[in-house]
Every structure is written in C-alpha cells, then in structure tokens.
Point group: C2
Chain length 909, copies 2
Amino acid sequence: MDVMEAKKTRIFKFGANSADGDSDMKNLLGGKGANLAEMSAIGIPVPPGFTISTEVCTEYNELGEDALKELLKNDLRDAVASVEGIMGAKFGNDTDPLLLSVRSGARVSMPGMMDTVLNLGLNDVSVVGLAEKSGNERFAWDSYRRFIQMYGSVVLGLKPESKDDMDPFEEVIDHLKDKREITMDTDFSVQDLKDLVYDFKDIVKKGTGHDFPTDPWEQLWGSIIAVFNSWNGNRAMYYRAMHGYPADWGTAVNVQAMVFGNMGDTSGTGVCFTRDAGTGEDQFNGEYLINAQGEDVVSGVRTPQQITKIGSERWARLAKIDEAERAANYPSLEELMPEIYKELDSYQQQLEDHYRNMQDMEFTIQDGKLWILQTRNGKRTGAAMVKIAMDLLDDGMINEEEAMLLIEPYKLDELLHPVFDPKAIKKANIIAQGLPASPGAATGQIVFFAEDADRFRNTILIRMETSPEDLEGMNKARGILTARGGMTSHAAVVARGIGKCCISGAGALKIDYKNRKFTVDGKEFHEGEWLSLNGSTGNIIEGKVATKDPELSGEFAQLMKLSDKFSKVKVRTNADTPKEALLAREFGAEGIGLTRTEHMFFESGRINVMREMILAPHEKGRRRALRRLLPMQREDFEGIFEAMEGLPVTIRLLDPPLHEFVPHQLATQKELAEEMHISLMAVKNKVAELEEFNPMLGHRGCRLGNTYPEITEMQARAIIEAALNLKAKGITVKPEIMIPLVGTVAEFDAQEKVIRTTAEQIFKERKDTIEYLVGTMIEVPRAAVIAEKIAEKADFFSFGTNDLTQMTYGYSRDDADKFMPIYLKKGILNEDPFKVIDREGVGQLVKMATDKGREVKPKLKVGICGEHGGDPSSVEFFCSIGLNYVSCSPFRVPIARISSAQANIKFGC
Amino acid sequence: MDVMEAKKTRIFKFGANSADGDSDMKNLLGGKGANLAEMSAIGIPVPPGFTISTEVCTEYNELGEDALKELLKNDLRDAVASVEGIMGAKFGNDTDPLLLSVRSGARVSMPGMMDTVLNLGLNDVSVVGLAEKSGNERFAWDSYRRFIQMYGSVVLGLKPESKDDMDPFEEVIDHLKDKREITMDTDFSVQDLKDLVYDFKDIVKKGTGHDFPTDPWEQLWGSIIAVFNSWNGNRAMYYRAMHGYPADWGTAVNVQAMVFGNMGDTSGTGVCFTRDAGTGEDQFNGEYLINAQGEDVVSGVRTPQQITKIGSERWARLAKIDEAERAANYPSLEELMPEIYKELDSYQQQLEDHYRNMQDMEFTIQDGKLWILQTRNGKRTGAAMVKIAMDLLDDGMINEEEAMLLIEPYKLDELLHPVFDPKAIKKANIIAQGLPASPGAATGQIVFFAEDADRFRNTILIRMETSPEDLEGMNKARGILTARGGMTSHAAVVARGIGKCCISGAGALKIDYKNRKFTVDGKEFHEGEWLSLNGSTGNIIEGKVATKDPELSGEFAQLMKLSDKFSKVKVRTNADTPKEALLAREFGAEGIGLTRTEHMFFESGRINVMREMILAPHEKGRRRALRRLLPMQREDFEGIFEAMEGLPVTIRLLDPPLHEFVPHQLATQKELAEEMHISLMAVKNKVAELEEFNPMLGHRGCRLGNTYPEITEMQARAIIEAALNLKAKGITVKPEIMIPLVGTVAEFDAQEKVIRTTAEQIFKERKDTIEYLVGTMIEVPRAAVIAEKIAEKADFFSFGTNDLTQMTYGYSRDDADKFMPIYLKKGILNEDPFKVIDREGVGQLVKMATDKGREVKPKLKVGICGEHGGDPSSVEFFCSIGLNYVSCSPFRVPIARISSAQANIKFGC
C-alpha cells in the first residue's frame, strides 16, 4: 500500500460541537453525513458518530472485504472510541452498552433503496445492561429481537427468495402469536420476546451454519459491508438507472450512537416546527411525550403534549380541557423541563437562521440530555408557504430570488380552491381513490345525470365519463367524479377550466345508471346520498365533510407582484367564456391562448342548430344552419373580446369530431328527428356514419374545415365582425385565429385562404378593417417535423401538447389508464407525460419545431396551450426553450406566473 | 430595343424533314415543341409548324401585348409563310385555306391546364373553300362553329362564371336541339350548323361588344396571347404549386398546320403500335379508317380496319368473317394503300429505333399524303412490358440499365395474379367502385360470413370489415370485398399477404347481414348470386366474368435475374406461415422482415386457449394458458424457420390489443363461458373492460409485453426452442426478435431483459446456444425522435411505416376514408400517405431515426416492414436513405426487387 493511500481520510467524525466535514462535502460524505457534520459543527447536539466516505465504497468494490478491513481497522477503532467518549458508554459493555445505528447515505437521497441496521451492539450480555439502564426489560428484549431480525435479514441475507415465500423470522412470530392467541406484536410478554430471540438465533444458525455473532465488532463490520453491498443491489441499481445516477458515486456509511427517549421520566422525544406549518405564523411549536419513542408521538396511542406553554393553552381550549387539568396532566415542555425547552428553543432559532427556512426537527431527551436527531425544511400548507416566504423576505433573511424559489407553485392550488375543514376531514372514511383531476374540495348529494345537477342544493355529478353534452350540469354540480378517463379527459379539462373539483378515472366504482347507484367494494351508494371529493388528492370520501372557502391573503398579492418582476415568458389563459376570461385576468393572465369555439355550441338553443348543420345532406343545408349560428358565435366573441380588452385573444376554429355533437340516446334522437321533420332512421344513420374507430385520429380539426369550408367561413366571419363591432365602440381587440390539427402546408393554406377572403369581404362590406393574425396549432407530429415550411405561412405557432403527446407516444389519453399505472409503478415512465411534459421526446419536437420555425421567421410568436401550460416543471421547460407564452386554465394562471418567474431566476429566460 | 434582343431566335420552325430545334431543347421549346422538332429533323413527316419559345412567354409577361407583337411580327409572318410553302395552302385563302392549331407546351406535360385553339383561319369565306376542298359541307360548317365556340371561350373569355351557370354557346345548342327535337350534335343538318354559326357570332358581339374577328392574323395573335395568359391562369398556377414548378419556366406556343383525314377516299386516319401492346410480340399493328377523323377510329360507330394484312386476317378469323368478305369490305392498309403502308412501316421502324422503345403513333392521310401527328412510348400490359424490355435488350437496342428502367414495377402485379379475360370483361357491368386493396381478378358467388366461404365452389366474401376471426374464411374465398376500411385495413393487409384479390372501402354497398344481401344504388344482391372483383382497379362487377390464371414467362425470370445484378438493398417478405414464406422465397425474398405472431392465435383450437389467457384474472392463470400455447407457437416457428433455412427471420412479438381476440357476438361469448366454466357476465365484463376509445393508441404492442411479461417470456421461449430444435437437425436458423411499438428506452430494456433471461435459461437447460438478435420496431414518432438512445440497446431497427404514418399525420387508417378522398381531390394531399411514403414528413422521421441510430451504431441494421415496402416509389426512397432492406408481402417481392434495382441504377444505392 503506498504512503499517500494510507494518509487519506476515510472516516469523518462528528459530535460534541465539532465535525471533520460540512454540508458542502455531500459528494464525499453523502447527503446525510454532510448534514450531520454541518449540524454538529455549528453546535447542535446531534448523537455523535462518523461517516465512512463514498470513496471507501469504491475502494471496497475494487479491493474486496479483507483489504478494506485492513485499510479501515485503526481508523474505525479510533472513531468508535471517540463516540464512546462523548456518550460515556462502552461499545459491547454489559452494564452501560453503547448501541449504534449503521445507515447508508449516497450524495442524493435514495429512499428505501439501501440497507440500515439499528440497535447494533446488543448481545445476550448487553441486553441485560440495557434492560437495567432503561428500567424497561420489555424494551431491551424487544430491541434485541428486532436487531437479530434486521441483522439476519440485511447482513446475513436470511430473507424470502420470492414474493410468495414467507420471511423466516415473521413465520416464527406468526406461529408464536397463534400459540398465544394474540394478534399484535405489543401483546408479547417479556418471556415471549426472550423465546423469540432464542428461536431467531436458531434460524440464523440453521440458515448460515454459524452462530449469531455476539461480538459487536463483528456486528459492526458485517453491517458496514452490507451497506456497501447494497449499493450494488438490484433495488439500488434499478433506482440509479432510472434516475441516471452513475455507479461510481458509491454510498457513504453513517455510524451513529443510538439514543433512547424511553429510558424513564427524564427521557422523552418529540417533533417541532420553527413556524406554524398550517398558517405560516412565526410561532415555535411542536409535540412531545415523556418516556417514549418516536413512533409513540405519531401513533396516537398516547396523547402528545405541546412544546410551548402558549401552544399547550391553545390546545386545551380547543380540546375543552380546563387549565388546572392541562397543567397537571398535559404540561408543556416549557413548563415541565424549562432548561431543556430553553435549549431546544435556542437550537430552533439557530437552525432556522442557519438554513434560512422553516425547519421541522426531531429531538430525543435521554436521561436529561437533549439530542437533535434531524432537521429539515418543514413541509407546509400553501398558505404557510406564501406567508413564510414573504415574512423571511420582509425580515431580510432571504432576498427576492430566494423568496420566489421557496414557492412550490403547485401548492398555490390550495389557496385558490375550497379545502376540507382540517378537523372535519380527520374523521373521513375514504372509500376509493381516483386521479386528482382538478383541485379543491367538494361535498354534495350524488346525482348520475347532468340534467339532475340542480336536483339538490349541492350535488356531486358521477359519470362513467363526461361529454360536451354534460357541460351545463358540470357547471351546476359542486364536484365531478368519473369512473373512466385520465388527467386530460374531457371531465378533467373542463373542470380545471371552470375551477371545479374533479376526480377522474376512479376505476373501482361500478356505476349502475339504471338504478341510479354505484357500488364500490361491495357497498352501494344511491342517488341523493352524500359524498365528498378531494380533487387535490383524488380521495373519494363517504358522507358530508365541511369545506372552507379560499381567502387570498395580502402575502399572496405581494408574491404575485414580486413574480412579475422576474417573469419574462408571458402567461395567457385558456378560456371559453367572458366569465372565465375575466377571472383569469384577475389572476394576471396577459391574454387568451386558447378559446375552444366548440364549447359554445353545446348551450341549449344552439346544440340543435349545430345538429341541423351536421345532418344537412348538402352544403346548402349546412349554410342555412350556419347562418343561424353566426350571430350566436359573434355574440360569444364580443363578450370575450370585451373581457380581454387590449389583450390578444387566440380563437381556435372548430376542432372535435362532429360525432361529439350528435345525440347518442334514442330519446334524444327521436326528439331531434321530430324537430327537424326527418325520420328517426335518418338521424340514426348519420350518427352511425360519424362513428369512428379511432376518433382522436379521425375527421376533426382542420380536416373538418377543409371538407366543409363553409364552417370556417362562418367562424371567421363571427370573429371579424365581432372585432369590428367592438372597435366601433372604441374597444381595442387583437384577434388571433388559430387553425387546429394542421399537418401539411396545404391544409393551412386552404384554411387561411377562406379566413382571409372572408375578412377582406367583411372589410369591404363594413368599410373598416382590423388587424388580425392567422396562426396554427402544432399538435400533429408531422407539423413539428415540417415546421419551417408552415412558419413561412403562419403568423404564430401554438403547441397543443395534449394531442402532440398522444400522437408522439401513441398513447390515447382516454385509454392510457390501462397501462400507465403499471408503467409508472415499474418505472418504465417516471411521470405521466400528459401531466408533465416529456422533455426527451415530445419536448424535443417542441424545441425542434420552435427552432425550425424561427429559422425562417426569427420573430415568430410561439406559445403552448396544452394542459402542460399549468404544470410548473413543464412551464420551466417551455421558458427554457424560448417560447413567448404559456396558456393554462384560469386557476392555474398564478402557478404558471410563479413558474415563469422561477425559470427566469434559474435560467435567465 | 437593343441589337442583341433583336437577334435572339424566338420562333423555331419545323417541317419538311428539318427543324430549328431538337428534343434536347425542352426548356426552351417545351416538351411538345421539342418532340415535333426532333421528329421533323429525323425525317418524319409531321404537319409543319413552329414553336414560339418559353422565353417569349417571360418577355410577354414583362413587356405586355403590344411590345410582344412588335417583337414577333416579322418572324411570325415568316414562319406562317414557311408553313404555307410546305402545305401548298394559304392562310385565310378562300379556296384552299391553310388552317392552324395553336397549343401550349410547357417543359413538362400539364394535361388540361392550359388552352388550345383548333381550326384557326376559318371565316365566312374560307369555310366555303374548305367545304369545297373536302367535298364535305357539313364537316366544314361544323369545324367553323366549333372554332367560334372554342375561340369565344378560350380567347374572348365567354365562359360561365360559376359551375351553376350555363355555357352561353351550349345554351344555344340545347335550345336548337329542343326546337329540332333531336338529342345528338351529329343530328344537326348543314343548315342547323349555319344557324349556329350565326347565333354564336351574335353571342360574341353581345358579350365583347365587337364582331367575331374574321381576319386570320387577328385570330392567330389572339390565340397566342391566350395561351401565354393561360400560363398564369388559376388552373395552371394551382397545378404548378402542387408540383412545385416555378412560374418563370413559362410555356411555349406551338402553331401547326391542321391536316384532315376526312377529305375523301384518298384520306384517312389511324393509330398504330410498333409492337403488340398486349403480348409484347414484335409485330407492327394498328387500326385505321378511310375518310375519317381521329375520333371515328375510337368511337366505335364504324368498324376500324387493320393496318397490316396479317393483322387483318387474324382479326377476320376471330370475328368469323371469311377472307373474301374481309378483303372486300375490310382490307388492310397494306392492301388498300401499299405505298402509304410502306412509308408508315418505315417510319414505325425508324421511330422505335430512334426512341428505343415501343411507340404508339397517330397518323393522318390527307389527299394521299401521310402525316405523322404524334409518337410516344406506347402503353402496354405487364406481360408486354417485360417481353419488350427483354427483347430490346436481347436485340442490343438498349443496355441492361435501360431495360431495367423500362419496367414500371407496379405492372408486375398483372403477371402474378389472375386477370379477367379481356374479351369477357368488355361486356362487364360495373356496379360500384372501392379501393384496389389487393390486385388480381376474382369471380364467385356471394357470401356474407367467413364460415360460409366454402359454401359454394367459388365465393366472394363480403363484410363491413374483416377481423382476425375471418382469417380462415378469407383464405377459402376467391375474393374479398369490404364496405369499410382503407388500403391498410385488416382485409387489405391480409389479402395482399396471401395474394388474394380484395376491394376495400366500397362505401356505396349497404350490407344487410340479417337478410344476407347487399344493396347498391337501389339494386339488391343476395347470397349465392355471382359477383366479380377487379382488385387492381377496385371495380365491382355484376355477374360472372371469366378469369385467366397468370403464367410466368421466361422473360420474367430473365428480368428478375437481371434485377439481382443491380439491387443492393435487400428485399425480405412479411410472412406468417411456412406457405407464405416458401412462396416469397420463390419470388426471391432474402429473408423474413416481419412475422406477425398474433395471426397464429386465430386458428381454431388455439383461439380459445388465447382467450383463456386473456380471461385469466391473475398471472398464474395466464401462465397456465401460455404453457398450452407454447408448443403451438414453437411448432409455427419451426415451420417458418425451416422454410427460410439459412435466411434471417424477424419475428414480432404480440402486437394487437387483446380486444381483437375476444368474442364480440353473444353466441360465441356464451360458448366461451360454457367452455371455461365461468359466467357469461364474466366474459361480457372482460370484453367491456378491454374496449378502448382509440385502440390504435391503446394497450397494445410492447405495452402488453410490459404489463404481462409472461407473454413475452412464452414467445421468446417458443422462438429460441424452435431455433435450437432445428439446429439439432442441422438447419441454420437466424432468428431476429422484434419488439413492437417501443416508445421509450425503458420499454425496450424491460422486454429485452425478459427475452435474454429466457434465452439464457433455455441455453442452460439445453446445453446448447444459438445466435439471435433483439431489435425494435420504430413506429411510434417518439421512438424516431430518440432513436440514438434506442440504438444503444437494440440490435436492429425496423420501421413500421403504417403506424408511423398514422401517428405522424394523426390519421387513423380505418377512419381516413372520411376525409382522404376529399383531400386527394382538392390536392391537399397528392398521394395517400398509407400507400406511398410521405417523404417530407414521415420520411424525414425515418431518415432522422436512421441517421441518429447509425451515429451511435454505424453498422446498425435498418429495415422497413410497413406496407410501403411493396410500393416502388417508397422503396426508391428507402433505398436512397440507406436502409439495409425492405420487407413486403410475398406477391410484392418481385416489385420491390425491381424497385431496388432501379434505385441502384438511378442513385447508386
């Protein structure tokens, strides 16, 4: 071994207010090791220990076990001695044993991918010492049997070979439970635990041919090697491959003293937050229990007590417990252990100052000594997130950029939609789960048909799937629940647009329209019964749950204003009505990126005119119906233009297959036939004729406009006339006419010609003109491939990333629920590409098309109006490749604005 | 005007065995002008005339009409004088008037896009001269009224403004017919024609404010200007845009003497071929009529006579006319005008030698003088095409490359499939038309259900669309006819694979399964009635039509052998059975590019095992059924491997959605439920569960293999075991396992792992190994976009251009018939992209993926196995971008081989 090798530091100690490393050394010490070193170095009392560096992992892989032991031997003894010194306990000692934990720690968190061993150092002798020291024989033996089980499994490899086999240790436990006629681990007596230890050791003997190692050093070596080995285990390799982490990173090993909060009345354990995670209020708070382990605090078996006196008093008021009883039975830590509290309070301040963010800490008091086990940035509600960021900014602790980056854009949803009352929701019974299709909380009485949506005061509309015919009912219902369809199904898209709570794809629901009921797990729910939906989580809850309406705080306004300072990429909205447009404008939308003209045709009084147009056997009949539709569309556009005065409004021409407009139920078909004075058979024939095998790839988009140019003509006329009418009133209008589903230049040319010819004619008729643009959706892969040719003609591009994702992947978004969940579970997909833009594939096409388009038209305006326009990660991507705007549903506008600002801060775009 | 301008040659004369231009001057003289010059220069007596060059067109566009007249005036007079000299007639003369034609002529043929004026030079005086000279007053006046009508429309613009308006001249004609109570133009008397001339001149006067020009020079100028103007007319501009021809090419104007074959008994007209267009035999042949115009020969009003004596005698034998009557009433030209015949015969030899190809000539004899009006390469049957090419090659008239390029690959179809007896088909009554989905002719009795396909000796199977369940019946029927579906529908693909005649998408058929009949245009056709199909044209014919089986000639073998000398890009076949594989091998396939494993599951005895697998609620049940399918699949593969001994065989893993395998009819569902001892409801539920909105974008391809890896495992095992079994028999097997519908690297990885793990296990079991490849289809656009990443893992790429076209365009091939016909008609698409590869879009993706793949793996094997593999233009493209092979259905293999050879000759690829 050469001299340099010998001198290299392989083990980095921490504890007692000092450390060999710090938080910048993540590559060498792993994330966990670096953080423990950092805390220790700034004077936080973390249980002492040491980190074996990631380089040693590499050395081990190269040199093997024996050489590694030789390499580390002296340093390891020295490091353990140092821990013993700080803890005042001895490793392997039979009266006051030092117990250790051994954990992996790569440079990034790989939760559950590698192995951990706890309670290391126990054997038949030291278990007795632990029992005496803790005064808790049960605890000592339970720890011991758990240690053997964990060690046996992790280090000695005694685990089931396949999913179908039993774990050998669990098999013994089950057997003993049967014998004792008990069901819970906690029902075991001390003798039972001792019997288990005996049996477990027997399993080890039989399984390995050797006795269970009683030498703590042998235990320690075994565990270290096991952690290193787990770096190349199947789970870890798979996880690395999935995330693209290289194998040569290696893992560090963290060895740390175990501390116990259950060693009597001078011990305890708790969790605390530097600020209120619910409201963001700057108030230290948390819960603890005396003589308890971490899991006792969260398990609910004992009622945890409050850390601060003020918190304790507030808790008692809510729980209706009087002050005397509170002080006697549920004293705060502040009252019970004032010195410890004072120490804890100083650490929480120190840690928040240090990490400049709200902290979530775990601590344990062992025998009157406070240990901080962990600190991390605390999870918080959307409201707390905004308040904390603005407070920290106002206090000068962070700058504006840092404040912006503290925002998780998705969480703003919580601020914009109703939420369940936190107390009411605790008792909720979740009966099933679906996709969180549109956020918010809703509670109401069940109905199964759109026309029943106003049958009760508050209704939940339940459908297999929704169709445009259900639009009115969806508007009236409190929430929408569908058994089929994904995140971009009709129900989901519409619900997000109108800010309505929606859960889609809840496959467990068996809907029985005829009997107006649904069944889930054998239980029936009938029309009129109460149901609650959490559109943010996908939870479907039995019964009525109280909801709270959102209130937008001053901090929210402050944040949105701040975002404007940074965001360069504009945010528009997808809006089909003046109401939606106005709402989005309030949320800061800078224009409309997508108006779906077809939604307007579904209103009653219009749908039958539309149907008349579709049923007409020739152009003349279509034109007759279109003449009746014209004034209606013109009025729609006038309303939207007025709402968006001065801002650009992109209007997409008719897009969906005509099949969506015709009635599919016999009764409605009969009605239509009577109204139109034609035979029922004629209606049925037309409906059948319009049916398609793959409607997504069928007769829709500009294929309609190119086969029936008179439709385009009517829509162009409605837009241009509406614009001129408003111009006459002194209102500035900037119409952008968008042709959907263009795949060839000729398709665009033919539609553009109809639009421009119509406009010119109107200009002549009115003796007035208006500026307008004619652009195209880029949503068919072919359009992206030939974008440079389309750009020669089109005034703007708008990516329809829903369709583009469908066609680029070949995934029907309505059918993907057949395989997508399995793909996500198996890691074949990391994300649902309909939710988060697929940068590698679809994103590459978006970038390619943008670049090609700008090659021929450098100032080409390029936006995106698919559902991805409201997803933060996707917005970041679109900003980074130079799009001019993103467009999303009104309630997503604030989220997109923040995302745009963050992208600017991160990438200068 | 500068001196250089004045010297430029603007008018190029031809006639009397000399010419100012030749056939290389197409850009300057246009195609027609250059060819007329060429013929004249080599001594062929074409009616004299002159060509005004394309440059003059440009000059006209720049300078305008007056300047043009000044520029051309002298040259034009000179050129007309030259024509007068040769013809011995005078332009505008009242006793022997020279009549002229004025035609456009761009450098490429643009049929019908520009204007023509005939019989120019007639007026009230010269019409009398013409009547006298021809001895046919009716002809003279009819020519005159036609001239006024044509000139009025083309030059003076007197035509209907919209489709709905009447042509003013036709209106007068209709009016006169009503008055005379006649229906045909030929029923007009001379006086009627004179009246029409009077009325027509009146229309001109009223429409233009001027008298009809009687000055022939004014007529000539007007016509020249009109032709130049038509270059920038709507039709021509549209045509240019569609084909990408630049506007600055301009058109030439050809002015030529008119000659007439109806000037008495020393006049005549005819068409002739230098070889037999039906058989290719080297025998001069053709038809003529004395005292007739061109249209008389083809109209059938008079029986045309044969040119040669030998032809005439053969004709008489077939028509059962005895020699005396033949010689008296139908003498050959050879007998009737031996001198003229001799002259014609020498020209036909000269022209074939000159153009080195079989010629189709038109001639006119005017007053004993022979004029050759036109020669062009003659249309011919597939058999004639092959024979002529090989004969010309054997005679040393052309070299091997030229012989190859004389082949139109598509025409080989005629040689490989039955055709209708030419005589029988003449009387055929076409009742409807569909898409020519699979070539050949078939005649048989109508059946409507696959299981009835052997109900009669010869059957025509008629379905709305076919499904894999119909496979057996399709095999038994003579021909297949579907009312729905496109060129790549199930029926079309299967039919081409088995070389069966098929017409798809015949939308006019209303099928009534219940009553076993179909209706078309109100007429009913019942089961058992006779019907005939022409799969090469799409014609559906009433009744029984005799067919002829194909016979492959020695020349065909010679041609195919020759093609091997050139073709570099290999041709494989798509084959699912040993029979297909052997057939394709006979046709020269160099391997299998696509075996669709799912087709094997539809055989009786298998389909229910497959259904059992699908209906199994868990993996265990699926594995049980798969164990039963394994030996069947293994046997299939053994058969195919044996048939293709020594050649590579690409096997695609299960691809279609499971929905295609389950029964959809109640009766079959009941049967299955009974057989599997489960409830009908369970079967119905599963069938419903498998239903998809857009099955093309649903749970299929490797998405099946990745959700049910046990299917992939079974298929991999069947392939590898089959290969090892044959290896043991000394048969060389080269399996290439192909994963369908891959869109992400992880999808490929997961499937590859299953395959390789299975193979390794078998190698261990058998203690033997075999070489095999694991590659992927590239058919999802995303796969093309990330091809460089997939190439790192895959051994080969095979483009599935059917699906790639579907997804790149967003066209469902089963639904595209809703808009594709309109798109083709409007010129929004030039070709059906499912038939001919779309080079601009889909082709760009194919090229991009190939290039990206070879960037990381320069030797990557890349092929294509979509339907385009049998289309000549597509094969040419695939060759040009460097693919290693194309794969097509067996009957297309010869076509692809020729196409590959031609691509090599043209592009060296």
